[in-house]
Amino acid sequence: MLRTTISTKSPETKAEMQIPPDLLASVKRATEILESELGELADKCEMVAKWHFGNWSDSEEVSVAHLSLTANGHLVGNLTFPPGTLKNDETIRRNLHPFLTEVGRHLSGLVKHRLNVLRKQLEEDLEALAALAKE
Protein backbone atom coordinates (compact mmCIF):
# COMPACT_ATOMS: atom_id res chain seq x y z
CA MET A 1 0.00 0.00 0.00
CA LEU A 2 1.12 3.52 -0.77
CA ARG A 3 1.55 5.70 2.31
CA THR A 4 0.84 9.35 1.66
CA THR A 5 1.58 12.56 3.54
CA ILE A 6 0.45 16.00 2.43
CA SER A 7 2.25 18.87 4.09
CA THR A 8 0.85 22.39 3.82
CA LYS A 9 3.85 23.88 5.60
CA SER A 10 6.51 25.70 3.63
CA PRO A 11 9.69 23.54 3.53
CA GLU A 12 11.84 26.67 3.88
CA THR A 13 10.05 28.75 6.52
CA LYS A 14 7.95 25.94 8.08
CA ALA A 15 5.06 28.43 8.07
CA GLU A 16 1.54 27.23 7.21
CA MET A 17 0.72 27.98 3.55
CA GLN A 18 -2.68 28.99 2.22
CA ILE A 19 -3.40 26.25 -0.29
CA PRO A 20 -6.48 26.66 -2.51
CA PRO A 21 -9.02 23.89 -1.71
CA ASP A 22 -9.22 22.86 -5.37
CA LEU A 23 -5.43 22.30 -5.45
CA LEU A 24 -5.65 20.14 -2.32
CA ALA A 25 -8.50 18.14 -3.86
CA SER A 26 -6.45 17.68 -7.06
CA VAL A 27 -3.47 16.42 -5.04
CA LYS A 28 -5.72 13.84 -3.36
CA ARG A 29 -6.98 12.74 -6.77
CA ALA A 30 -3.40 12.57 -8.08
CA THR A 31 -2.50 10.33 -5.13
CA GLU A 32 -5.31 7.92 -6.03
CA ILE A 33 -4.13 7.86 -9.65
CA LEU A 34 -0.51 7.36 -8.56
CA GLU A 35 -1.51 4.39 -6.39
CA SER A 36 -3.48 2.82 -9.21
CA GLU A 37 -0.60 3.38 -11.67
CA LEU A 38 1.94 1.86 -9.27
CA GLY A 39 -0.26 -1.22 -9.10
CA GLU A 40 1.26 -4.21 -7.32
CA LEU A 41 4.55 -2.38 -6.90
CA ALA A 42 2.98 -0.52 -3.98
CA ASP A 43 2.33 -3.90 -2.30
CA LYS A 44 5.75 -5.37 -3.07
CA CYS A 45 7.75 -2.61 -1.39
CA GLU A 46 7.12 0.12 1.13
CA MET A 47 6.31 3.19 -0.91
CA VAL A 48 5.79 6.64 0.55
CA ALA A 49 4.47 9.63 -1.37
CA LYS A 50 5.22 12.96 0.26
CA TRP A 51 3.47 16.03 -1.10
CA HIS A 52 4.41 19.60 -0.30
CA PHE A 53 3.66 22.94 -1.87
CA GLY A 54 5.69 25.82 -3.18
CA ASN A 55 5.44 28.88 -5.38
CA TRP A 56 5.62 28.62 -9.14
CA SER A 57 8.87 30.31 -10.28
CA ASP A 58 8.95 33.72 -8.58
CA SER A 59 5.22 34.19 -8.46
CA GLU A 60 3.93 34.20 -4.90
CA GLU A 61 0.33 33.99 -6.06
CA VAL A 62 0.57 30.64 -7.84
CA SER A 63 1.06 27.54 -5.67
CA VAL A 64 2.27 24.29 -7.18
CA ALA A 65 2.45 20.77 -5.77
CA HIS A 66 5.70 18.82 -5.45
CA LEU A 67 5.83 15.05 -5.01
CA SER A 68 8.68 12.99 -3.54
CA LEU A 69 8.40 9.22 -3.84
CA THR A 70 10.44 6.78 -1.79
CA ALA A 71 10.62 2.99 -2.03
CA ASN A 72 11.96 1.05 0.96
CA GLY A 73 13.43 4.28 2.27
CA HIS A 74 15.22 5.20 -0.98
CA LEU A 75 14.23 8.31 -2.90
CA VAL A 76 13.08 7.10 -6.33
CA GLY A 77 11.78 10.33 -7.80
CA ASN A 78 10.76 13.97 -7.43
CA LEU A 79 8.05 15.52 -9.52
CA THR A 80 6.60 19.04 -9.73
CA PHE A 81 3.17 19.61 -11.17
CA PRO A 82 3.34 22.93 -13.06
CA PRO A 83 0.16 25.08 -13.04
CA GLY A 84 -2.62 23.44 -15.04
CA THR A 85 -1.22 19.90 -14.87
CA LEU A 86 -3.50 18.85 -12.00
CA LYS A 87 -6.57 20.01 -13.93
CA ASN A 88 -8.07 16.58 -14.61
CA ASP A 89 -7.24 12.85 -14.67
CA GLU A 90 -5.83 13.08 -18.19
CA THR A 91 -3.39 15.91 -17.39
CA ILE A 92 -2.38 14.22 -14.12
CA ARG A 93 -1.64 10.94 -15.96
CA ARG A 94 0.24 12.79 -18.73
CA ASN A 95 2.52 14.34 -16.10
CA LEU A 96 2.89 11.10 -14.13
CA HIS A 97 3.85 8.74 -16.96
CA PRO A 98 7.39 9.99 -17.72
CA PHE A 99 7.96 10.20 -13.96
CA LEU A 100 6.82 6.59 -13.46
CA THR A 101 9.16 5.42 -16.23
CA GLU A 102 11.99 7.05 -14.29
CA VAL A 103 10.74 5.50 -11.02
CA GLY A 104 10.75 2.06 -12.69
CA ARG A 105 14.28 2.62 -13.97
CA HIS A 106 15.45 3.74 -10.54
CA LEU A 107 13.83 0.73 -8.84
CA SER A 108 15.47 -1.61 -11.35
CA GLY A 109 18.82 -0.08 -10.35
CA LEU A 110 18.06 -0.70 -6.65
CA VAL A 111 16.99 -4.28 -7.40
CA LYS A 112 20.20 -4.85 -9.38
CA HIS A 113 22.24 -3.65 -6.41
CA ARG A 114 20.33 -5.93 -4.00
CA LEU A 115 20.78 -8.86 -6.38
CA ASN A 116 24.54 -8.28 -6.44
CA VAL A 117 24.69 -8.22 -2.64
CA LEU A 118 22.61 -11.39 -2.47
CA ARG A 119 24.74 -13.13 -5.09
CA LYS A 120 27.88 -12.44 -3.01
CA GLN A 121 26.17 -13.72 0.16
CA LEU A 122 25.01 -16.85 -1.67
CA GLU A 123 28.52 -17.50 -2.95
CA GLU A 124 29.87 -17.19 0.60
CA ASP A 125 27.14 -19.52 1.92
CA LEU A 126 27.85 -22.09 -0.78
CA GLU A 127 31.58 -21.95 -0.05
CA ALA A 128 30.89 -22.47 3.67
CA LEU A 129 28.59 -25.35 2.85
CA ALA A 130 31.21 -26.94 0.61
CA ALA A 131 33.81 -26.59 3.40
CA LEU A 132 31.40 -28.25 5.82
CA ALA A 133 30.80 -31.09 3.41
CA LYS A 134 34.54 -31.72 3.20
CA GLU A 135 34.84 -32.02 6.99
Partner: protein, 106 residues
Protein backbone atom coordinates in the same frame (compact mmCIF):
# COMPACT_ATOMS: atom_id res chain seq x y z
CA UNK B 1 29.32 -31.14 15.61
CA UNK B 2 28.70 -30.54 11.91
CA UNK B 3 24.97 -31.37 11.88
CA UNK B 4 23.82 -28.14 13.62
CA UNK B 5 26.20 -26.21 11.35
CA UNK B 6 24.57 -27.84 8.32
CA UNK B 7 21.15 -26.95 9.61
CA UNK B 8 22.23 -23.33 10.11
CA UNK B 9 23.71 -23.19 6.62
CA UNK B 10 20.56 -24.65 5.09
CA UNK B 11 18.44 -22.14 7.01
CA UNK B 12 20.63 -19.28 5.75
CA UNK B 13 20.40 -20.54 2.19
CA UNK B 14 16.64 -20.88 2.45
CA UNK B 15 16.42 -17.27 3.67
CA UNK B 16 18.57 -16.10 0.76
CA UNK B 17 16.41 -17.95 -1.74
CA UNK B 18 13.29 -16.40 -0.20
CA UNK B 19 14.88 -12.96 -0.44
CA UNK B 20 15.82 -13.72 -4.03
CA UNK B 21 12.20 -14.59 -4.80
CA UNK B 22 11.09 -11.27 -3.28
CA UNK B 23 13.66 -9.34 -5.34
CA UNK B 24 12.61 -11.09 -8.54
CA UNK B 25 8.98 -10.22 -7.80
CA UNK B 26 9.96 -6.60 -7.19
CA UNK B 27 11.94 -6.50 -10.43
CA UNK B 28 8.95 -7.95 -12.28
CA UNK B 29 6.65 -5.26 -10.84
CA UNK B 30 9.18 -2.49 -11.64
CA UNK B 31 9.53 -3.72 -15.22
CA UNK B 32 5.76 -3.91 -15.59
CA UNK B 33 5.46 -0.32 -14.35
CA UNK B 34 8.07 0.87 -16.85
CA UNK B 35 6.42 -1.00 -19.70
CA UNK B 36 2.97 0.29 -18.78
CA UNK B 37 4.08 3.90 -18.49
CA UNK B 38 6.00 3.72 -21.79
CA UNK B 39 2.95 2.12 -23.41
CA UNK B 40 0.72 4.90 -22.07
CA UNK B 41 3.12 7.54 -23.34
CA UNK B 42 3.12 5.90 -26.78
CA UNK B 43 -0.69 5.86 -26.79
CA UNK B 44 -0.73 9.55 -25.86
CA UNK B 45 1.76 10.38 -28.62
CA UNK B 46 -0.23 8.40 -31.12
CA UNK B 47 -3.40 10.28 -30.10
CA UNK B 48 -1.65 13.65 -30.50
CA UNK B 49 -0.24 12.52 -33.87
CA UNK B 50 -3.74 11.56 -35.07
CA UNK B 51 -5.06 14.92 -33.89
CA UNK B 52 -2.29 16.78 -35.73
CA UNK B 53 -2.77 14.66 -38.86
CA UNK B 54 -6.48 15.56 -38.80
CA UNK B 55 -5.61 19.25 -38.46
CA UNK B 56 -3.09 19.04 -41.33
CA UNK B 57 -5.71 17.37 -43.51
CA UNK B 58 -8.27 20.11 -42.70
CA UNK B 59 -5.76 22.86 -43.39
CA UNK B 60 -4.69 21.24 -46.68
CA UNK B 61 -8.31 21.15 -47.83
CA UNK B 62 -8.82 24.80 -46.79
CA UNK B 63 -5.60 25.80 -48.56
CA UNK B 64 -6.70 24.05 -51.77
CA UNK B 65 -10.06 25.86 -51.61
CA UNK B 66 -8.30 29.21 -51.10
CA UNK B 67 -5.92 28.56 -54.00
CA UNK B 68 -8.86 27.71 -56.25
CA UNK B 69 -10.68 30.87 -55.20
CA UNK B 70 -7.53 32.92 -55.77
CA UNK B 71 -7.11 31.45 -59.29
CA UNK B 72 -10.75 32.24 -60.07
CA UNK B 73 -10.35 35.82 -58.83
CA UNK B 74 -7.18 36.23 -60.92
CA UNK B 75 -9.05 35.10 -64.04
CA UNK B 76 -11.99 37.45 -63.31
CA UNK B 77 -9.62 40.29 -62.65
CA UNK B 78 -7.74 39.62 -65.98
CA UNK B 79 -11.01 39.54 -67.92
CA UNK B 80 -12.12 42.80 -66.27
CA UNK B 81 -8.85 44.45 -67.20
CA UNK B 82 -9.14 43.31 -70.85
CA UNK B 83 -12.72 44.63 -71.09
CA UNK B 84 -11.59 47.90 -69.50
CA UNK B 85 -8.72 48.25 -71.96
CA UNK B 86 -11.07 47.64 -74.92
CA UNK B 87 -13.50 50.24 -73.55
CA UNK B 88 -10.69 52.82 -73.22
CA UNK B 89 -9.45 52.11 -76.78
CA UNK B 90 -12.99 52.42 -78.13
CA UNK B 91 -13.53 55.65 -76.21
CA UNK B 92 -10.24 57.13 -77.46
CA UNK B 93 -11.06 56.06 -81.02
CA UNK B 94 -14.52 57.63 -80.79
CA UNK B 95 -13.01 60.82 -79.36
CA UNK B 96 -10.40 60.97 -82.13
CA UNK B 97 -13.04 60.36 -84.79
CA UNK B 98 -15.20 63.10 -83.27
CA UNK B 99 -12.25 65.51 -83.25
CA UNK B 100 -11.37 64.60 -86.85
CA UNK B 101 -14.94 65.24 -87.95
CA UNK B 102 -15.04 68.57 -86.11
CA UNK B 103 -11.77 69.69 -87.71
CA UNK B 104 -12.89 68.70 -91.22
CA UNK B 105 -16.11 70.69 -90.82
CA UNK B 106 -14.13 73.78 -89.91
Amino acid sequence: MSAPKHVKQIEDLTKRVQELEKIVELQKAATELRLKSVEDQLKERSRVEDELRGKVSDLTAKNAALEERSRHQEKTSDRGWTVGQAAIVTLVAALLSFLAQSLSKK
